[in-house]
Symmetry: C2
Subunit: 138 residues, 2 copies
DNA sequence: ATAGATGCAAAGAGTTTGCATAGGT
DNA sequence: ACCTATGCAAACTCTTTGCATCTAT
């Protein structure tokens, strides 16, 4: 009846609290496994769903990228996807007037903005070595 | 050696040219099957990839939704995803200054804006009947 | 001791690929 | 006739689910 506290569940939330950027389920499993031995991927997904339902965690769904998760205490913000290393970063600030772009008669309830490019780390590396390229932005 | 013209490939492009909104691969297959009998889903995916490579078609990748495809002649625009009927619409216009939101040191190469809410059709229906709800916007 | 949580493996959904065959050129 | 494109089914990836077992309460 009541929700139980387990080391796996605690580990998942702890990982997200300590994360410096939104993480994928696999990344979460890897980091959680270091805290509590044997955290299965199914448990990560179940834990994430419960945390999202409780509003403690938000899914970060980006165009053309696997969903990531972050704790829900960062206020309204958007995301930057690095085409070179695939990491996602938070972007604070939000251009005004976005919701007014909808055609007349449409009711806007929210919006998502995603920037693409190279993160500071990758941009600092002069020659982006030729190789497999990540998904390219529109 | 040369690319051949087949009725399936023509049907896929024709469907997208006539589409009033971005379509999913399954929607494309359904519509193409009416034009040329027996268009397999694999052929749709292969045709789409070639069209995207040639730049004739653009993938429309939305947060938390399956990718859709549209012909690449509509200029820079964004999209609106109806939470009620699940259809995607084009939104013209683009708020300025979006690219300036990135943290210093980040190189922005593109951006994507997605609006969520109810489309004009669904908003016109007064009582959104209670039932399964589509993915909710952030 | 009871009943919720976990882990594994199987099941699904969406997309890609291998291979024999159909069909442009 | 040659060789690309197709269709089917198998393979893959990501996520969810069934079930026996573990474990917090």
């Amino acid at each position: 009846m009541t929700e139980r506290s387990t080391r796996q569940k605690s580990a998942v939330l702890e990982v997200l609290r300590e994360a410096e950027r939104p993480l994928t389920p696999q990344e979460i499993r890897l980091r959680a496994a270091r805290k509590a031995r044997g955290v299965g991927i199914a448990t990560v997904y179940r834990g994430l769903r419960r945390l999202v339902d409780k509003g403690e965690v938000l899914p970060v769904e980006l165009p053309g990228a696997a969903p990531r998760y972050e704790v829900a205490s960062h206020g309204h913000h958007h995301h930057f996807l690095c085409n070179e290393c695939g990491r996602v970063f938070e972007v604070f600030g939000c251009p005004g007037g976005i919701d007014q772009l909808a055609p007349r008669g449409f009711e806007v309830s929210g919006h998502e903005v995603t920037l693409y490019g190279r993160c500071a780390d990758c941009a600092a590396r002069p020659a982006p070595r030729r190789g497999r390229r990540l998904k390219v932005a529109s």
